[in-house]
Amino acid sequence: MRGLLGLAGLLVIVEALPRSGLVDDGYLPPTSRIVAALGDEVVTAEFWQAVADTLTAWVIGLAVAVAAGVVVGVAIGAVPVLRAATSSTIEFLRPIPSVALIPLAVLLYGTDLGSTLLLVVYAAFWQVLVQVLYGVADVDPIADETARSFRFGAWARIRHVLWPTALPYVFTGVRLAASVALVLAVTAELVIGAPGLGKMIAVAQTSGAVPDMYALIAVTGLLGVAINLAARAFERRTLAWHQSVRGEVPA
């Protein structure tokens, strides 16, 4: 409910800025004009096709990145030797921007979904991985000793101790990855020209159709908001036990 208030505030500011003449409305059109442009877009099948394309790339890419990030993260985090052996490689690969891999992606997949996926997965994977690694390191030693004293096997310790501890970190990782994946999906479309919202933004941009461009950017942002809402709701249900969700400190 309050969140709507925040968004409404943003809308008002964007309406007021160009109207007051603080910025040229040719470059930042007021909310009303952006909304009008959005209205023109949402009735076209092309628009929904683009949204669907972007979301498909996002969902698949995110799913792959999260699954891989969690599995690799837990494996590396739980086995100290692996961690020591891989950390330098991880640190080396992580800062390589997905965008620098565009030629490689195009080389391999052209403008197909594969291209977008490669970039999305590459970028989102590290977000999850790093969070999982920190989460795994956060296991309470006493809780772990308890499990060991009852002779929990490796798998049971991962499942019952390590995983619940890492879960809040994983959630943060997934939320970070979700938006990074969206960002990369749109960027890939934007630069490579794979079908989707990004391509529409690129077209609007080169054509100087400013309100359209902002309308499409807004759609991307709104997708982000929706994704976060879903993530929060899911988190509230799964992390009911966690300190951060137990209820805000009273008094």
Binding site: L5, S88, L107, P141, T172, V183, G221, Q243
Partner: protein
């Protein structure tokens, strides 16, 4: 000795594999590693480093530090205030989902094309992991610790400084770590548009002028840069979080 082996082992293996597999490569865009390495020395001369890598690093540092300060400050405020969180979270999520390449032109409208724009782009992209992790870390502060602080009248800024931040610091460190590599990525992206120097600019320029081995050498340099920075980061973290790592190691019998 052993540490060095761990650090270098896997990279050496991977590079060797790359070297062998690519040795006979005919592909224009995936040249043999031999050529890439050969061009590395030629390309990244001292002049180049000074002219392109140094400005990049300065922008990176400025952007990262700014993002760290903003992320932590905002994160603490949001993490402590459930009402504030409910109000601003959607707006933040909205901006978080907007791709920086789309945003660069928009930011350019307001911030021009100088270093300011590039730093803003870096901040805009890498503030999120810091912010999110700070929020979560702050929310997860042990309730008994908080009660202790409250009972002893440790309030306001002191509570944040002495209890909330230290307690959340492991998670904040995770966020900063993420932010660092994102900052590098955004440094490159910001320099892809409207720049005339910088590491990102150089790489893009190589790509545009079909100097592919040079482009790959630039990507390797990025990796090395990231590795070096993360090493520095780990040193700093090891210092700041000594208590935490000690606590973790304590009952493992080590």
């Amino acid at each position: 000795m052993r540490k060095v082996a761990y650090v270098l082992g896997l990279p050496v293996v991977l590079f060797a594999a790359w070297y062998l597999i690519s040795a006979g490569s005919e592909s224009f865009y995936a040249p043999p590693l031999r050529d890439i390495l050969a061009s590395f020395g030629r390309t990244w001369t001292l002049d180049r480093l000074q002219a392109d890598v140094l400005p990049s690093l300065l922008r990176l540092t400025a952007g990262f530090l700014l993002a760290a300060v903003i992320g932590v400050a905002l994160g603490v405020a949001i993490g402590l205030g459930p009402r504030l969180r409910a109000t601003v979270e959607p707006v933040l999520e909205f901006f978080r989902a907007i791709p920086p390449p789309v945003l660069v032109p928009v930011i350019m409208l307001f911030a021009g094309i100088g270093n300011g724009m590039k730093i803003i782009v870096i901040v805009f992209g890498c503030v999120w992991p810091v912010l999110l992790n700070t929020v979560e870390g702050v929310r997860a502060v042990d309730s008994v610790q908080l009660d202790t602080a409250r009972a002893y009248g440790i309030n306001g800024f002191d509570r944040i400084r002495r209890v909330v931040l230290p307690s959340a610091s492991p998670q904040i460190a995770a966020g900063l770590r993420q932010a660092l590599s994102i900052a590098i990525i955004l440094m490159v992206i910001s320099e892809m548009f409207a720049a005339s120097n910088g590491l990102g600019f150089t790489i893009v320029q190589f790509q545009r002028s079909f100097a592919i081995p040079e482009m790959w050498s630039g990507i390797i340099l990025l990796g090395l840069l990231g590795f070096g920075l993360s090493l520095l980061f780990r040193l700093a973290e090891g210092r700041a979080l000594r208590w935490y790592h000690g606590l973790r190691a304590a009952s493992k019998g080590r």
